[in-house]
């Protein structure tokens, strides 16, 4: 009863402090790297790369693993003809082998205003940046090339993929400079950066995906069509998922200035959750429908566990 009259110490909920400063190198948490360092980020698709690596290459070579037989065509090297098949069938077949190559991974961070939200935890942007940094380090560690895209309506930033270890600093600098602001359509921003993804590889999107799902779907389809392995890491705040507010509140939009809504949260909770659930289902269906990986996580979850689970499941599927 007394709580009814007790004034709230702070009327405006301030943003949760960014905990990334706790780490010596900013975004890459050694604890997380300890947990996921022994894992590998394998591409589930064939990728283009110059160097021998862990991933399947589009190039068929003669080095390691048998891939298929193909009918001989003029111009093929004679030494690649499988003479044993010729002896059985009296036809020329070329024996092709899988060749491993390195991966070009792109981590894309959504920096729209809604990513700033974080009430009881770190902001979604901070969580996303940390996850992106860890994945970038992991990829570089396994000799893959990593680049970064900061998706923003006004200040987009692209860090091209490089394979050398020193490139991590450039990626971390780009991630640290990311600030959530403004609105904008995420799909449009992704499409804007697609031309820069020249070689097929891995496209990892860190976003809350709020906005127009159709546009986002179109953009991801294009990415997918260009041969990229798409991973959408859907970062949400626990408050957005549960919506357990009990007091009358004034909700101010983080993306559109001046947009404000006074209401009794509990009264609209049912409707809100219904819509939110529909949105999540649509997004998951969209991503999995185009062959990508969908990982939903909330900022109150341990990043190491989430990434560990994701990587393990990917390795399992790759096998």
């Amino acid at each position: 009863m007394l709580n009814l009259f007790r004034s709230k110490p702070k009327a405006i909920v301030t943003m949760a402090p960014d905990r990334t400063n706790e780490y010596p190198d900013g975004l890459v948490d050694p604890r997380i790297m300890d947990q996921i360092g022994h894992l590998e980020f394998l591409s589930r698709r064939v990728v283009d790369g110059l160097l021998a690596g862990k991933h399947r290459s589009t190039t068929k070579g003669g080095c390691c693993e048998f891939a298929q037989h193909r009918q001989y065509a003029p111009g093929d090297e004679i030494r690649q003809i499988d003479w044993q098949v010729y002896a059985r069938n009296d036809r020329y077949f070329i024996k092709q082998f899988e060749e491993e190559t390195n991966l070009h991974g792109i981590v894309a961070i959504d920096t729209s205003g809604s990513m700033k939200f974080g009430l009881s935890t770190v902001s979604k942007l901070a969580y996303a940046c940390q996850a992106a940094a860890c994945l970038a380090r992991l990829l570089l560690h396994q000799r893959d090339a990593v680049g970064a895209v900061i998706l923003n309506k006004n200040k987009p930033l692209f860090v091209p993929p490089r394979q050398h270890a020193a490139h991590l600093q450039a990626i971390l600098a780009a991630l640290q400079s990311a600030e959530a602001s403004d609105g904008g359509d995420l799909g449009t921003q992704i499409r804007a950066c697609i031309p820069r993804l020249r070689r097929r590889g891995l496209f990892v999107l860190f976003s809350d995906c709020f906005g127009n799902l159709d546009e986002l779907g179109k953009a991801l389809r294009i990415v997918r069509a260009r041969g990229h392995d798409v991973v959408v890491m859907h970062v949400l705040a626990p408050e957005e998922v549960h919506f357990n507010f009990r007091r009358w509140s004034s909700f101010q939009s983080l993306e559109i200035a001046g947009q404000k809504l006074n209401l009794d949260p509990a009264a609209v909770r049912d409707e809100y959750l219904k819509r939110f659930r529909t949105f999540l289902d649509q997004l998951e269906e969209l991503v999995t429908g185009l062959g990508g990986d969908y990982i939903r996580t909330t900022t109150n979850h341990d990043l190491a566990e989430t990434l560990g689970w994701f990587l393990r499941s990917r390795i399992a599927r790759a096998n």
Binding site: A237, Q252, E271, T288, Y294, I295, T298, R312, A316
Partner: protein, 776 residues
């Protein structure tokens, strides 16, 4: 509509608290910067009117619940019979069982008439109603305090209970009985109360002078929680013409007498009626045996006459002496009165003698001894009950004073502090002290030790010695004499009899003058002088009494010691001083019985009351003996204390109030006065009726509504709460989703989850690969 506790209505604004809290809560918005506005905007526009209606309904229910609670506390009453006929009621019979109800009319006592009237009324009481019986004498006592529900079996039980009621010899207090009946807590199921007062209409029982009491009765009737009807049934209106001769009291000059010591008993006979009575015989009896008979001539209406009898006892003991008048009147219990007298061998008293070596008549205590019938420590033939023992002041310091009932200092000399302290203790424990000032008394020492600024044994200080003969102005000497009529005191009643005694002729030539008491304070005076100044004054110290006299009890300064009155004075005053330590056998109603019995082994005793009830008593140890005590003496009449197996019987008597013998009924003026004070609307004999407005209590209904409101509120708030927070939660992460799907930890079943999801992915991969190969 009326309210029994209207003050609670001031709390009605509290009903607005839920609305204020609601508004207050709305005003205290918490600002949240929110990202997922698109879902919130859509959800806010979909808020249904039904939900809003539920919220408003909840608010209304809460407001109504608080309002109902406040209303129920204010206990509203609805006029008229809103809720149909009253189902159950209560009837209280108040039976006046005072002595006047023992009057016989046509050979039936009024009490029997009252009881039969009550039994008749009992038949008319509806089954289901409850009945109580209250007795009005000597004070309101419940004969049947718990209401008995009337049905076929209990009806006879109640009638039997009524027929077993006893009359008392006391008065009744009808006002207190009515107040008691009205104040009695009523059971919640009963909706009306009917009080029936059955009385003989005797005026003295009605306490008409107590205006405040009757007004209080009126207020209580008005504010009664249930409709209350009051029937006053006056059973007889012929009291004006009755003849009632009563022996009001029997008095004696002393209740402790010696063996063979003659004493006088005086019975006060009064004709309480208006008609003259016939001559009648008066019989004195001891116990149940008649001892003496005399005749009393006819008494006029209201006439009072004293009948005296001298008697002496030849043996020790406690005796009940009764005086009965044989007259044919309608109220016989008051034709007899009793007094209890204790006959003892002797009562030890101590005389302080500081001049034993002088001639007899110059000794301090000689005249006091002589007045008691003793000379030189030896009893004469005609001695009284008091047995004196002589001691000088120095010996007083070493003596144990416990064995004496009184101490007389005939000529006060200087006493040391220790002796004065002993005297103080002696008096505090019930002893009597008689101090006579004389030539050897020192003014300053007396004022310091005996007066001690009001804390000592003397009620006043002394000023100086006054020479009465020389102090008179003028040439003719005028003697100053004792004036016994200056004060009406029980110890000087006999002294004041100037026809038989020479008290008023005793000249005082010299005396000590008492300092006048402070303005506004009064001092009890036993004897005064003809010049208006006090000669003897008294003071109560603890349980005992002290008499201070300004002249010595010897042949000095006055002629007191050689007067006739001196013997009477010594006997009466010693009797008066020794009273506190004597057992009180004649009591007023409610006075405790306290008997000291020496050398008794059996500590059990039985007290028999006038109604024949036996009360078992257990003694408390006190010194060498035991003390039996009881306060169950509220009923006037004869009490007998039977001690142990020896069968010793000690009589006690609780005096009745002579006023109860006055059978004068309420007059028309009295009825009018009662009507004005208490709202008594009808004064006709047989029925008087007071009724309050019929009003039904509304709060039980409001409490039921309150329960309904609370239940509805709980139900509605439950529904709203379920709507608000009852939605299924959304899985926070894909990891959890898979855990819930398969029921195993994600880390260990990654392959299974991978298999489920990778089949889909593998198909696409395969298709894509084929497409690409084809392209190649």
């Amino acid at each position: 509509m009326s309210f029994l506790s209207i003050a609670f209505l001031t709390a009605l604004p509290l009903a607005a608290v839920p609305i204020l809290l609601h508004l207050f809560d709305r005003r205290r918005n918490v600002v949240i910067e929110w990202g997922a506005m698109q879902f919130l905007m859509e959800a806010a526009t979909r808020r249904t009117n039904a939900r809003r209606l539920k919220q408003w309904l909840l608010l209304v229910l809460r407001v109504l619940a608080i309002a109902a609670l406040v209303m129920a506390l204010a206990r509203p009453m609805l006029p008229g019979n809103w809720f149909g006929s009253s189902d159950r009621g209560e009837t209280i019979f108040i039976v006046d069982n005072s002595m006047s109800m023992m009057r016989t009319v046509e050979e039936i006592s009024l009490l029997e008439t009252a009881i039969e009237r009550a039994v008749t009324m009992l038949d008319d009481i509806q089954p289901g109603d409850s009945v109580r019986i209250l007795l009005a004498s000597p004070y309101p006592v419940w004969a049947m305090g718990d209401g008995v529900r009337v049905d076929s079996s209990s009806r006879q039980l109640i009638a039997d209970q009524l027929r077993e009621l006893h009359p008392t010899h006391g008065r009744s207090d009808l006002l207190s009985a009515l107040l008691t009946a009205i104040q009695t807590e009523i059971e919640p199921t009963q909706q009306r109360r009917h009080i029936v007062l059955l009385t003989d209409g005797q005026g003295s029982d009605w306490s008409i002078a107590d205006e405040a009491g009757w007004k209080q009765l009126r207020e209580m009737l008005k504010s009664s929680a249930v409709p209350t009807e009051l029937d006053v049934i006056e059973l007889d209106d012929h009291s004006n013409n009755v003849i009632n001769v009563a022996v009001n009291t029997v008095q004696t000059s002393r209740t402790v007498v010696g063996v063979d010591q003659s004493f006088t008993l005086v019975a006060q006979v009064q004709n309480h009626g208006r008609k003259s009575s016939l001559p009648a015989s008066v019989t004195w009896s001891i116990g149940n045996e008649a001892e003496h008979t005399s005749r009393v001539s006819g008494l006029k209406g209201g006439e009072v006459r004293d009948v005296a009898w001298n008697h002496s006892f030849s043996k020790t003991g406690v005796f009940a002496l009764s005086c009965g008048i044989d007259v044919d009147d309608e109220l016989t219990p008051d034709n007899r009165a009793t007094v209890v007298v204790q006959v003892v061998d002797e009562v030890p008293v101590l005389l302080v003698e500081d001049a034993a070596d002088l001639a007899e008549i110059q000794q301090d205590a000689f005249f006091v001894q002589a007045a008691l019938g003793w000379i030189d420590g030896e009893p004469l033939d005609e001695r009284g009950v008091f047995a004196p023992q002589l001691a000088d002041s120095e010996r007083l310091e070493r003596m144990n004073l416990q064995g004496f009932r009184a101490i007389v200092i005939p000529n006060l000399t200087d006493l040391n502090d220790e002796v004065i302290g002993k005297l103080h203790d002696f008096v505090s424990n019930g002893g009597g002290l008689w101090i006579a000032l004389g030539p050897r008394s020192d003014v300053e020492a007396f004022n310091e030790h005996f007066f001690a600024d009001g804390d000592g044994l003397s009620p006043l200080g002394i000023d100086c010695i006054v020479d009465e003969e020389t102090s008179q102005a003028g040439t003719q000497t005028q003697k100053t004499t004792i004036d016994p009529s200056i004060a009406k005191h029980p110890a000087t009643l006999e002294l004041a009899d100037s026809e038989r005694l020479d008290t008023s002729d005793i000249a005082v030539s010299r005396r000590f003058r008492f300092v006048s008491p402070p303005q506004g304070e009064d001092v009890s005076v036993l004897l005064g002088l003809s010049n208006g100044e006090p000669l003897a004054i008294e003071k109560y110290v603890g349980r005992g009494r002290v008499i201070v006299q300004s002249i010595p009890l010897r042949l000095q300064w006055s002629e007191l010691s050689k007067s006739q009155a001196f013997v009477v004075m010594v006997q009466d005053w010693l009797a008066y001083l020794t009273q506190p330590q004597a057992t009180r056998h004649n009591l007023s109603p409610g006075d405790p019985i306290s008997v000291y019995v020496a050398n008794v082994e059996n500590r059990e005793a039985t007290l028999r009351t006038p109604h024949g009830d036996d009360v078992d008593l257990t003694a408390d140890t006190a010194g060498d003996g035991v003390v039996f005590q009881s306060s169950r003496t509220i009923l006037p009449g004869d009490y007998i204390l039977e001690l142990g197996l020896a069968g010793d019987r000690i009589p006690f008597h609780v005096n009745r109030d002579p006023q109860e013998s006055n059978l004068t009924p309420l007059t028309t003026a009295d009825h009018k006065l009662l009507a004005g004070l208490s709202g008594l609307t009808s004064t006709t004999t047989g029925s008087a009726f007071i009724s309050t407005n019929h009003a039904d209590p509304l709060w039980p209904l409001i409490l039921m509504i309150l329960i309904g409101l609370i239940a509805a509120e709980l139900l509605l708030s439950g529904i709203i709460s379920r709507e608000r927070f009852g939605s299924d939660p959304i899985a926070e992460s894909t990891e959890h989703w898979t855990e819930q799907q398969f029921g195993v930890p994600a880390a260990s079943n990654s392959k299974i989850t991978a298999f489920e999801t990778s089949r889909h992915g593998a198909n696409i991969e395969q298709g894509q690969l084929t497409e690409e190969v084809g392209a190649n």
